[in-house]
Amino acid sequence: MSLETLPEPEIDPERSATELIRLEQVTKRFGDHTVLDRLDFSVDAGKHVTLIGPSGSGKTTILRLLMTLAKPDEGTITVAGQRLYPAPEKQVREVRKKIGMVFQQFNLFPNMSVLRNITEAPVTVLGLDRDEAEARARELLDLVGLADKCDARPTRLSGGQQQRVAIARALAMRPQVLLLDEVTSALDPELVAGVLDLLRDIARSTDITMLCVTHEMNFARDISDQVLMFDSGRVIESGTPEKIFSDPEKDRTREFLGAVL
């Protein structure tokens, strides 16, 4: 099916008021391995959704598809009523503005100061003037507790500090959706709490929709409205954190939680 003939997403007025992200029949393969198998799921605006499940079950792949770091083999992805995949490049750029991502490995730009890391995209993509972008960046650094690190190089910071800068950098683009990909997995144990506390604050005090892949089950329980249990490329169970963590229906979920908790 070509891009032109593909129908625009049907907007169900009942649902469109709240639904922000929608994946339909999304399949992703790497070689012979099917990572996501005709996956359907949607996320409502403002919700915090946590994806859990064994590694290789496709959780991170969903975030990467939403961030357009990878393309699905089949299916459609819609964000805020606009098609993200399949879509022409220009539309992808437009829709992608709504989405921000924080990575496991931080991925700060080592050739820029902490402040420039945060102002680069607001200035070049959103067209903010430099003073305005810097003022906002300083506010954000203050929020993440690193106001004194403006001029530092990212490589001089600890992992926890780098990740907090990365969170500030993502927030500077004022995304509607924040994707968090195992953001504490690369951190030393004593630095994890600081980053998670910050994310709890953000979850509480903003209306940003969050999609979170994590192995921190306490954190997932604290911030999530909904938890999705993945196995072999499919959602095998979903529900409130209370339900999933205390009274899961599926044996596979029970088994997985038994192993990680």
Partner: protein, 216 residues
């Protein structure tokens, strides 16, 4: 063998002329190789075979034929096609072009060494492709390749005497001319030998200073 200081003194005015020519070849040749090498490295990444194939073929050809043959070709064949350049210009272009096919590989390795996460972060921030290259990828790639580029400058310095073959009077050309007229070989050759060592050493000092500044 006897050493005659007065022969050294007689040679020096010619030496300075030769040194100036060598330095001009080296500086302009380096700049050409730095810029052109980067252009090649970027062109082979264009996602179209119509671009990558010709660029790959040309650079492979230039890299795998001797510099001397290329210099002769530029100097003696191009005029037959109506393009006549001075010997010095021909030499500078020839050596710059030849070395650009090496610096190309250096840049390519440097670009590939930038972690995939940097590209992903740039995509996540919605940076345009051009800005991703100029603000994120190239600054990191070039920082990594400065030592390797510097080694090619020193290599190029040692290849400048080849330009003598197309009548450019760089240091060796001046020494040879002086020898033919004065029948003194030891002094002029020794002087330019020392000059080559001094230049290499200076270049490596400069390079190390640059590296120290660039490494964050």
């Amino acid at each position: 063998m006897n050493w005659d200081w007065s022969a050294v003194a007689d040679f020096m005015p010619h030496f300075w002329d030769g040194l100036l020519v060598t330095l001009r070849v080296l500086v302009i040749g380096s700049l050409i190789s730095f810029v052109l090498g980067l252009v090649w490295a970027l062109l082979v990444r264009v996602p179209s075979r119509w671009v990558t194939w010709p660029v790959g073929a040309v650079t492979e050809f230039v890299r795998n034929t001797p510099l001397l043959v290329q210099l002769f070709f530029l100097f003696y064949v191009l005029p037959e096609w109506g393009l006549t350049l001075s010997a010095l210009t021909t030499g500078v272009i020839g050596i710059g072009l030849h070395y650009s096919t090496y610096t190309m590989q250096v840049y390519r390795a440097g670009i590939e060494a930038v972690p995939a996460g940097q590209w992903e972060a740039a995509t996540a921030l919605n940076l345009p492709l051009r800005r991703t290259w100029t603000a994120v990828i190239l600054p990191q790639a070039i920082r990594r390749v400065v030592p390797a580029l510097g080694n090619y400058v020193i290599s190029m310095l040692k290849d400048t005497p080849m330009l003598m073959a197309i009548t450019v009077l760089e240091m060796l050309g001046e020494a040879r001319l002086f020898s033919q007229e004065s029948f003194r070989f030891t002094e002029p050759l020794t002087v330019i030998g020392v000059a080559f060592i001094a230049l290499s050493y200076l270049a490596s000092l400069l390079l190390r200073a640059l590296e120290r500044r660039l490494v964050p």
